[in-house]
Symmetry: C2
Subunit: 343 residues, 2 copies
């Protein structure tokens, strides 16, 4: 954090300001951010709060630190609520005789792309003095994130998932209150040599992100910063595709609706998958028909339940994708409830 | 470890065979290898063996895992011996009521480039059931390393230090006996969702090295493998430079002698530094005079006690460097005991 060429300290400061947090370090991937925080707060046998929609890397961080995972359940709408958080903390207190030592809360989860009430959950957690790690894997670099408004202790972002950066990269931000804990400097000493190691931070293993990946993050930052301001356009484009998909009879949206994020899980068992049963290309006809229209990267062979993300597509591309889904549906005998309005 | 394209599993196997170990993972830097092993064996308050010449990243790994550092002292020749290891383990047993839970032993240390008797130290450690991590930051990729012959439990190598690979990269190798411990697969489970995470390894945070750095390591491997066979030539070239330096009156070698590694610490307080006292360029004349001869990257401003590494220089370059040191010494009025034989 003290290196001035390249201007890493400056970059850390810029990222902190952008996230409205007090201290930032770049890390080799979001998972290393989880690990640093888990190793700071979690000792063997400590209960740690996650959610029923938490990413596996959060579980790995808890396990590596010796913690015990306890999940806040999601409700029928696949949302994690402050009430459910309060109930779970009470259950943990009953089971362990104490509150969880840390909570991992995903703002937008990886399964449904649903947006959870992190501010509300953080408020509940803080009533029990539980520090809250905000997992921004699908938000930091994608949409505006204000750590102070959310009231979280840590913000973790993924460089390669959502910040247009090379893998592995990521950021870990902390409040001024927590900074001294997770970014504490080393206190270890050699008993023979009496060596001390000064400003090195044990959770950073002495260094933040190095080399090409860091420089990649720095180069992308102005673009990433700018693009988060236009998430409304991304959502509008996503809606064009959703309208088309939902106009195809039997298709349902498994994510919360209306959509707040561009990553969505849909169920096409009663639509595209019906075609697959008799189509000579089986489940691959959909992918193949999309490819004929120049659309690649979409769900190889999947016609039942699948996730897609339109982040970064232009309006024209969104319209083309929407039209394509409707055409493919019609060509294969699926009923389409009239063209969705914007197409 | 199960990905076949690129052939990572195959690469892991090749590296294991090359090091005569049973299992290998690529890691984002040697320090992450230290961390994985430390987090596997070290709990809060556990004593961990290091040496008086251990690298700070080993101390960071111990601290991050909650361990207490205990150093094996080096002797007057700056060597860590099996006898000293045995004595220290006994001292730890007295202090903690139990043996250390892990030992970090550097084969070639970063301070003097001295080669320590790892095989002997490992034998002693195993008498007390202490697992031994071999730090090969200056050996793996540089000279032949045979983990089984050394009798160590873990071999850690640095990709960017000694394997001609991009930063951050490294390898962590284990014996069959220890593999199941450090590369254990996850056992954590979601209490609500009952999710399990299959083959993910918590110490690897679910993934080994990713992206460009891994591909860089794989690309370098055949070259690295080949070059370790020719370390004798590297040593011969190093000796040419050492002969020249030691022919300059007042210069002494602070590392063990004869040299077994190409990285050496010399003391020129009574030779080059004497010149600096009156030279108009002060301590920078040496660097400047070397640069005039096309030699760069050498110790900016240092004329007292400094480290240098000739690894990778050709015989011609070694001779040029040797001649240059002698010429600069003579030009500045330092006595030179006749040209060293090979120059």
């Amino acid at each position: 954090d003290y290196i001035t060429k390249p201007p890493i300290a400056e970059f850390h400061k810029d990222v902190a300001k952008w996230l409205n947090m007090d201290a930032v370090r770049t890390v080799p991937g979001a998972r290393r951010g989880f690990q640093a925080v888990a190793n700071t707060y979690v000792n063997k046998g400590d209960p740690v709060l996650l959610t029923a929609l938490s990413h596996y890397t959060e579980f790995m961080a808890v396990e590596e630190a010796g913690g015990v995972a306890r999940e806040i359940p999601a409700n029928d709408q696949k949302l994690v609520t402050p009430d459910a958080a309060a109930e779970k903390i009470e259950a943990v207190k009953k089971e362990f005789g104490r509150a969880p030592v840390l909570a991992f809360i995903d703002h937008v989860d990886y399964q449904y792309g649903n947006m959870h009430d992190v501010a509300g959950i953080a408020k509940v957690c803080h009533q029990y003095d539980v520090p809250v790690l905000y997992n921004g894997a699908y938000t930091v670099g994608v949409l505006p994130v204000d750590g102070k408004a959310l009231g979280v202790d840590f913000v973790v972002g993924s460089g390669h998932k959502s910040m247009a950066s090379p893998a592995p990269s990521g950021i870990l931000a902390a409040t001024a209150e927590r900074e001294g804990e997770v970014f504490r400097t080393t206190a270890i000493e050699g008993d023979v040599t009496k060596r001390k190691f000064g400003i090195k931070e044990p959770e950073m293993m002495g260094c933040t992100l190095m080399g090409v990946t860091l420089v990649g993050m720095m180069a992308s930052f102005p673009h990433v910063k700018e693009r988060t301001k236009h998430f409304d356009k991304e959502l509008a484009n996503h809606q064009i595709v959703m309208d088309a998909l939902l106009s195809i009879e039997g298709t349902t949206c498994l994510s919360e609706y209306p959509r707040k994020h561009t990553m969505t899980r849909v169920n096409t068992i009663e639509s595209f998958d019906k075609v697959a049963a008799t189509h000579k290309k089986r489940g691959y006809y959909l992918q193949s028909a999309l490819e004929e229209r120049g659309i690649t990267g979409v769900i190889p062979g999947a016609t039942k339940v699948w996730k897609f993300n339109t982040y970064g597509v232009t309006r024209k591309q969104a319209e083309h994708l929407a039209r394509s889904f409707m055409e493919i549906a019609q060509e294969n005998g699926l009923a389409v409830k009239g063209p969705a309005s914007p197409v």
